[in-house]
């Protein structure tokens, strides 16, 4: 290297230039050094030591990750998250992005779906925990399901009713049947109790035991209870008939051969029956219970419940990013395909999706990274009683290190595992991101 002409002031100038540079960089170096670089090295080293850091134990902590029950549950759950959520979020974002191009109010739609992105995952979890309450009176999700289910399959009017005497047998699921075989000319008193006053139909009248009909089977279904009790199995004054109850006539083999509905005084009649033994029964639909509510926050469904909340938050992100990709697509290519006679679905599958591939992959990979680190929303949706079942890697790390166990060695190992899983994904994203620029 030839020595350059060193004019006066070059050296101090150089020094000053570097001094200025250092001044500009120093705060960043300090923050990054103390809060990111040093802790990263520390955590990696710490993961090789035991709980209180006194003994070097090699990779024992890593083995424990895969042999401790709560931790394997966390890994399994996180694997389910990875398999389900990123693909769903990307698909929803794509569908929304394509559909809103065809409506006039796309900005309003976009705002509505994107809004949850602004609020904390923790608060989003609180929102869904309120929505997911089991009781159909206060949990909106179950109230919605109940409205549909009870409309399709209405609950019976007397879901709590029980036989008043042992003369009525069977189970509510197959219908309560009169124990004694009947023939034409018999009378069947079918008494029920345990009916709350609210369940008694408004048009109910004083029950009446009908007179026998030759060749027919008659009877009464009534609320075999009056203030003070009364005698079971006997129709008494102040005891109400139960109208609108379906009574089945069954033959000797148990097959249903006829159905009638009770009158306002509870009476029913099969006018003409064939000779031989018959039975009568109150149909099972009478006892069908109303929709009880799905136990979203219980141990079985907690992971899907948290996922729903999470998808609600992130769908807007996918929609906006994919929407920007769609807007940048060359319109003439799409139009050319349409002019050539391709249907909308063909255009979507053969042209739009392949052209959007890079954007879809970025969204998908970004969601993989987010899902690996999922934490806040699990703690806010899942009640303490189902947190073991809802466990994920980041939550397991926190609980191991700070949530009572206080094992910094194992906690560090879980953090390193998370780190190792995130690295390739983020490198991929940064690479495709640099290519785009």
């Amino acid at each position: 290297m030839a020595a350059p002409e060193t004019g006066p002031g070059t050296r101090p100038g150089l020094w000053r230039r570097h001094r200025v540079t250092l001044a500009f960089l120093a705060p960043a170096v300090v923050l990054l050094g103390i809060w990111i670089v040093y802790p990263t090295i520390y955590t990696i080293v710490r993961s090789l030591f035991d709980r209180d850091g006194s003994e070097f134990i090699g990779v024992d902590n890593y083995e424990r990750i895969f042999t401790t029950d709560t931790l394997t549950t966390a890994i399994r759950n996180n694997a389910i998250w990875l398999a389900v959520v990123p693909a769903l979020v990307t698909a929803i974002g794509l569908v929304f992005g394509v559909l809103i191009e065809r409506i006039r109010w796309s900005i309003a739609f976009r705002t509505a779906v994107f809004m949850p992105m602004a609020i904390s995952l923790f608060a989003a979890g609180v929102i869904w925990r309120v929505m997911d309450q089991r009781d159909t009176d206060i949990g909106a999700v179950n109230a919605g399901i109940a409205a549909v289910v009870d409309a399709v399959d209405p609950p019976g009017g007397l879901s709590t009713a029980e036989p008043s005497t042992e003369r009525l047998g069977g189970t509510p699921e197959e219908g309560l049947s009169f124990a004694q075989p009947l023939q034409g000319g018999d009378v069947a008193p079918l008494g029920l109790t345990a009916i709350p006053p609210a369940d008694v139909p408004e048009d109910a009248k004083q029950a009446r035991e009908p007179a026998p009909v030759p060749g027919g089977i008659v009877g009464v279904v009534w609320r075999d209870f009056r203030p003070g009790g009364g005698r079971p199995g006997v129709v008494e004054s102040e005891e109400l008939g139960l109208p609108g109850v379906i009574v089945e006539l069954r033959d000797g083999g148990g097959d249903t051969i006829g159905k009638v509905e009770t009158e306002a005084d509870g009476t029913f009649a099969f006018e003409q029956v064939e000779t031989g033994e018959h039975r009568v029964a109150i149909g099972p639909e009478t006892f069908e219970e109303p929709f009880e509510g799905v136990d979203w926050l219980g141990s079985k469904l907690i992971t899907p419940a948290v996922m729903i909340a999470y998808i609600w938050v992130w769908a807007g992100f996918a929609m906006v990013v994919i929407g920007a990709g769609l807007a940048a697509l060359p319109r003439d290519v799409l139009e050319a395909a349409r002019t050539d006679g391709a249907s909308e679905t063909q255009v979507f599958r053969r042209v739009t999706v392949p052209l959007l591939r890079p954007v879809l992959i970025v969204v998908f990979v970004t969601m993989l990274i987010n899902v690996l680190k999922v934490f806040d929303i699990v703690l806010s949706v899942a009640p303490a009683s189902s947190q073991d079942e809802a466990n994920v890697i980041a939550l397991a790390m926190w609980r191991t290190a700070f949530g009572g166990v206080n094992d910094f060695g194992l906690g560090s190992a879980i953090a390193v595992l998370l780190f190792l899983l995130v690295i390739p994904l983020l490198l991929f994203n940064i690479r495709s991101f640099r290519r785009e620029v």
């Binding site: 705060p27 923050l31 809060w35 710490r46 559909l99 779906v113 995952l121 009640p383 785009e436």
Partner: protein, 300 residues
Amino acid sequence: MAGAAQRAEPVPIAVAREREPFSRRLVRLFSKAPLNALLLFIAVLWLVPTLGLFLTSLLPEDIVSAEGWWTTFSEPSLTTLENYSDLLSNEDITSALVTTLIVAIGGTAIPILVGAMAGYAFAWLEFPGRDWIFLLVVALLVVPLQMALIPMFSFYNDVGLFDTALSLILFHSAFGLPFAIFLLRNFFIGIPRDLLESARIDGASELRIFVRLILPLGLPAIASLAIFQFLWTWNDFLVALTFGRDTQVITVAIFSQFRAFGSNIDLIAPAAFVSLVVPLGVFFAFQRYFVQGLLAGSVK
């Protein structure tokens, strides 16, 4: 009018647009009715949970555990602001809101200032190994903050920073920095060289150039970065849960009411709603920057 409304439709051939008969337009409108209905249903579905939280927060204590928020539609008289006035007199919550604000402002201002300084150095100051060091800083983006929780927990205890707002501010500042430096350096590098050169020839110091030239010109990037960082720190739960005990931010303060979720809903619902009103306000006020920043961070 019809022409103006149609401009939104991507009709490639101008002739087709002008000659489209009224009957065809009518057909198209009706064929879109199911799509509009479907999307309207989805939009409502997406809004209902947040609305539900708000209406829940308006139900008095004795009603909220027995009746769903939708009863307010049929009985609007049930609603009351009582829960909110109770909230204002609840010192745990009010002090948590103040702490959250302090942390969010500090955790936004520091990384932006520090990141802008470093971004300027990486963009316009010459020094050996500049690009390599920049790459190293960007590489720090891959470190999940879980990697720092355990060491910083011990560190904060040792230096007496544990359970302070400052500990949260510094943690958020550091983890916001790699992205801030990356974004701002890339933005600053697009500033015309002539502008800087002439300022230097005029004898302006680097500090002066930075304050008078770079910061004002970088405002669009700084704004969207500020919005993101503010939302990130305001919405944080994990960091504040780890390093705070008595110093609680709002998410942590709500979390500490969780032990009896069902019976505390009259406190949890309004507190959660207040906690999300601030980021929602920021979002609606700066929606454009927000979306731009999001796109800058993911595709471009």
